[in-house]
């Protein structure tokens, strides 16, 4: 087994990239009815860090991500990226969705060039960058294919290359591998580690898959529901500042089971609380 590669930047040298401060979101439905989805959420994502928002379904993690993307407006609190206040969507926060978002009428190459075309990147640079990122997601053979000819995992790689080629300051991913079969999912997770290392990307990822969070993330923000709040902010420190290249490495690493067990307990506790409150309402 090859030794774990050192991460390029030591944790101490990292600066806060994304700052989320006391963010809340209350949805209004047809006048009177309101649902508080998220309350007082605060956390940081450091430069070049991979951060996972983890939690049971309905904990508001996707809402938090959508607010960071600017697709949803917070009802309270504020967020900054590189010190600038987040208002509305823009190219500094590129997002990859769970549903396939490849543009079916464009080839792989044209899909990856899309953002750069919109942002008026000169043609030669556009072509060159697109080729580089298509290579990074290992789709060079398929650059002239249409998305309908590709598998689900390949389409997701097109979306990742398209977002990264547009040079975002942070990459946002909303359960990006959730629609894939188990084997493709871990292949994508392993590929994603390589992509993050090569492109020096800061990544904020939403997932409900605990192993995915541990494998990919340097930091896990565990969220609790009703309403969505941050329950624990965990550094994945058993990795000692390195990232795994394969799942086997992760499973063999000392400290992995302890962290998995700890998060399992958190999840168990969440479902127990739900059962209790449901029982309380029934009486």
């Amino acid at each position: 087994m090859s030794p774990l590669p050192e991460s390029k930047i030591a944790p101490a040298a990292r600066r806060s990239k994304l700052a989320v401060r006391g963010v809340g979101k209350t949805f209004q439905f047809s006048g009177r009815e309101t649902i508080e989805a998220v309350r007082g959420v605060s956390f940081d994502v450091m430069e070049n860090e991979i951060c996972a928002l983890l939690g049971p379904s309905g904990c508001g993690k996707s809402t938090v991500l959508r607010m960071v993307a600017g697709l949803e407006e917070p009802t309270s609190g504020a967020m900054t990226l590189d010190g600038h206040r987040i208002e509305g969507p823009d190219k500094s926060r590129g997002m990859v969705f769970q549903a396939y978002t490849s543009f079916d009428w464009l080839t792989v190459q044209q899909n990856v060039e899309y953002g750069m075309r919109i942002n008026k990147v000169p043609k030669t640079e556009r072509k060159e960058r697109a080729a580089r990122f298509i290579d990074l997601v290992k789709l060079t053979r398929f650059r002239n294919a249409y998305p309908s000819q590709l598998s689900g995992g390949m389409r997701q790689r097109v979306a990742i290359a398209r977002t990264l080629a547009n040079d975002p300051s942070i990459l946002l991913m909303d359960e990006p591998f959730g629609a894939l079969d188990a084997e493709t999912r871990w292949q994508m997770q392993e590929l994603m580690v390589g992509i993050a290392e090569t492109s020096q990307t800061t990544l904020l990822l939403v997932t409900h898959d605990l192993e995915e969070a541990i494998f990919l993330a340097d930091r896990i923000v565990f969220m609790s529901r009703h309403p969505g709040t941050v329950r624990e902010n965990l550094m994945v420190d058993f990795k000692k500042g390195r990232r795994f290249q394969s799942r086997e490495q992760m499973i063999e690493a000392p400290g992995y089971y302890e962290l998995e067990k700890k998060i399992m307990h958190l999840m168990r506790d969440e479902s127990r609380r739900d059962a209790d409150s449901a029982a309380g309402q029934a009486h």
Partner: protein
């Protein structure tokens, strides 16, 4: 195949493989695809059957020849009409009316439908109007249109326009609404402006369905054409058929119906062809 992996028995080690026993193909299979030769043969045979029965019924005298002339009589009449009575001019007049009115209706309905599907403000403003007009039968405007535009081209084009524009706008709106939000939001997080998203995401995403809606509405357009030409026209296929009725020339009426059917098929084929040509990415497994 290479050597068998230890612990996993290959076919040779164990029992002899069971020979595959292909089951005879049955004619009726639920939802199973059929060879294209079958499809072609079946498609032709229903027409052969239809005209065959008609021909037999006429020749044997089972039906009154005045009201139900035989297919070969109708085709003969059609030839005479084309060769000696300038029927082609009438056909061209009808085609011209269809094409001009349909292009005008599409030029209005498609952009409005797309905007209604994208923006709730446009929808709230335009839809109450469009929805009401859809429920008014277009032919009920014929008397009004005749007073406004007279018996010239204007009244026919206006009827065809009214008959198509509101339905087409609604169809286009529905298809535009169905464009997935994630596609639009992807555009937003890649830095596209609202105008750029309309041009580079929404329109290309909905265009194939717009073409399908146009194809459906073109068929409706033919219905209104015949109504317009029967009610108030001296030219066009409908007018020729109306004259045939006045002189009890049933063969001429039927010739008109045949021509409309053939033209309908031809236009439908054109739309399908354009669809294939414009949207190669919808053909699965090409390259």
């Amino acid at each position: 195949m290479g050597p068998s992996v230890s612990g996993i028995a290959s076919d040779r080690d164990g029992a002899a493989p069971l020979p595959a026993k292909p089951r005879a193909r049955r004619i009726f299979e639920y939802k199973r695809a059929i060879p294209w030769t079958w499809a072609l043969g079946l498609g032709i045979s229903i027409w052969v059957l239809f005209f065959g029965l008609w021909e037999i019924a006429s020749v044997r005298g089972w039906v009154n020849a005045t009201f139900m002339p035989a297919p070969h009589t109708v085709l003969g009449t059609l030839y005479v009409m084309l060769a000696e009575r300038a029927f082609l001019t009438d056909i061209m007049v009808s085609v011209y009316r269809i094409v001009v009115s349909f292009l005008a209706a599409s030029a209005i309905a498609v952009p409005i439908g797309v905007l209604m599907g994208c923006f709730r403000v446009v929808d709230a403003f335009v839809n109450p109007f469009v929805a009401a007009w859809r429920y008014l039968p277009a032919p009920s405007f014929v008397p009004l249109l005749l007073m406004w535009f007279g018996a010239g081209e204007g009244s026919k084009l206006a009827l065809l326009f009214i008959g198509v524009v509101f339905f087409l706008a609604t169809l286009v709106m529905d298809h535009t609404r169905a464009v997935r939000t994630e596609l639009i939001e992807t555009g937003m997080t890649l830095g596209a402006s609202r105008r750029q998203i309309l041009r580079t995401v929404v329109v290309p995403a909905v265009l194939p369905n717009i073409l399908i809606s146009m194809r459906q509405m073109l068929a409706v357009s033919w219905t209104y054409l015949v109504i317009a030409e029967i009610v108030a026209s001296t030219t066009g296929i409908g007018a020729v058929m109306m004259r045939g009725q006045r002189f009890l020339h049933v063969d001429e009426i039927m010739a008109g119906i045949v021509v409309i059917g053939v033209l309908g098929l031809a236009f439908d084929f054109l739309f399908r062809f354009a669809h294939r040509l414009l949207f190669p990415y919808l053909q699965r497994g090409n390259n």
